[in-house]
Symmetry: C2
Subunit: 266 residues, 2 copies
């Protein structure tokens, strides 16, 4: 049986375009889960015959809701250098751009390397309670989420002074980690303003960026294991907040860092 | 006399395009300072007759060096919603895309607001030694830089275990802060790998993102004063590192957060 994530990412590619289709499995409040849209853009580039190397950075801007049904990802390698390649993509429905994206792919080289930050302290996922996601939006059912800190607020949670959320998370059912799956996991956090205000509020990601630190070998090492995802906001103002986050392998590899700007009403 | 920054940002705008020209004042090792290129893209959008609101987020990807001389910024509002607007831009020379960008502009509203992080401790700029920038790349002469921590390494600096740099910085000569100037200031940090390795090495920004938290009133309050800029890397690997940074007003306003992915050889 094809994994629901691969169903959501199935694309019919032709030169300069890839046709996909939303799937009910990844439905959000309005349109599909933004993480799966970003993953579809990345997959479209990966499948392009001119593609050079692996993902290095990706920025996706959510311009308008995506309707249930087919969509076209129009994509173009605007520049191919010796070791990296720059892409522009637009997700289009009914002749209207719903999502814009830019990406850099590149060839990684052996260099001096160092990780300056450390993962947050966390008990093993086996000792962390799984979230019962049956009462949440549909797309969350595709993830096994085990909150270590900053779980989704309930009715009596009250306000919080800190927007930090840390969780173990993996695809449900488990699926070997690859770049599209890592991309989607980077958007797995519920809006930080919920945690601060202790309640659900209208909120939606406007711009989403992933910097990929994992090379193909590091991804393969993760197999289908949990990753430790941690996120926080720095400032909420004027109806927008930023979020900055890290995704760690269980082997303490910093797989990706990711940032987003989110619209909210409060 | 026109400020050098405004000379660098002078654009002849026509529908869908804006023509600019590199200026010797902002020359980098190869091509112009990336911060001034990003600022020119932002300025082109600001001057577009269809523009809605103020900058919210900007991502600029540096695809190829910009040659000395004229350039065209081709830009397009792909989507205008009630309170925000999505842009795609490409900087073109000789028919080749040298830089890609996406941006979101929007109308800020009075909402619940909070700043979760605090600025780093720093003595006042008046008590911090100005950097003698005469021996550095040309563009740095347009900034009054006063390093609090992590100054540009000298010949005997040696390696550092921490990539953090914090400095007071403002335009030189002083100039009232606006969104383009803030954008350029977000790229004012020298590459973090220099600090870690204690030496200059080949390095260049590939992707650069700014999330603007300052509204027009907050910018105006800064006048032409110093801002406190602080940056660090999280991981160096495979020939790339990420940088995450904050720009603070002297009144402790978090004006912008900014992230970039940088190519390096070491």
């Amino acid at each position: 049986m094809t994994h629901p994530f691969d169903v959501a990412l199935a694309l019919d590619s032709s030169p300069g375009s890839a046709r996909g289709r939303t799937t009910p499995d990844y439905a959000n409040m309005v349109g599909p889960f933004g993480g799966v849209t970003a993953a579809a853009v990345l997959r479209a580039i990966e499948q392009h015959p001119d593609r050079l190397g692996d993902p290095v950075s990706l920025t996706v801007n959510y311009a308008a809701p995506i309707a249930d049904g087919p969509f076209d990802i129009e994509l173009r390698a605007v520049r191919t250098n010796r070791t990296n390649q720059h892409w522009i993509a637009e997700l289009v429905q009914d002749g209207e751009t719903r999502t814009t994206a830019t990406a850099v792919f590149g060839i990684r080289r052996d260099t001096w390397s160092d990780t300056e930050t450390a993962p947050p302290a966390a008990p093993a996922p086996e000792h962390t309670a799984p979230l019962d996601i049956s009462s949440f939006v549909t797309w969350m059912r595709n993830y096994d989420m085990r909150y270590v800190e900053g779980a989704v607020p309930g009715e009596d949670s009250g306000e919080s002074a800190d927007s930090t959320t840390t969780l173990w998370v993996r695809d449900q059912p488990p699926r070997p980690l690859d770049y599209p799956a890592l991309t989607a996991l980077c958007d797995v956090f519920y809006p930080r303003v919920f945690l601060r205000r202790g309640q659900m509020l209208p909120a939606g990601t406007i711009s989403f960026t992933v910097y990929f630190h994992a090379d193909a070998a590091a991804l393969q090492r993760q197999e289908a294991d949990y990753v430790l995802a941690t996120a926080r906001a720095q400032r909420f103002t004027g109806g927008f907040f930023d979020q900055t986050a890290q995704l760690w392998g269980r082997d303490d590899t910093l797989l990706a860092v990711t940032h987003q700007l989110v619209y909210f009403k409060a």
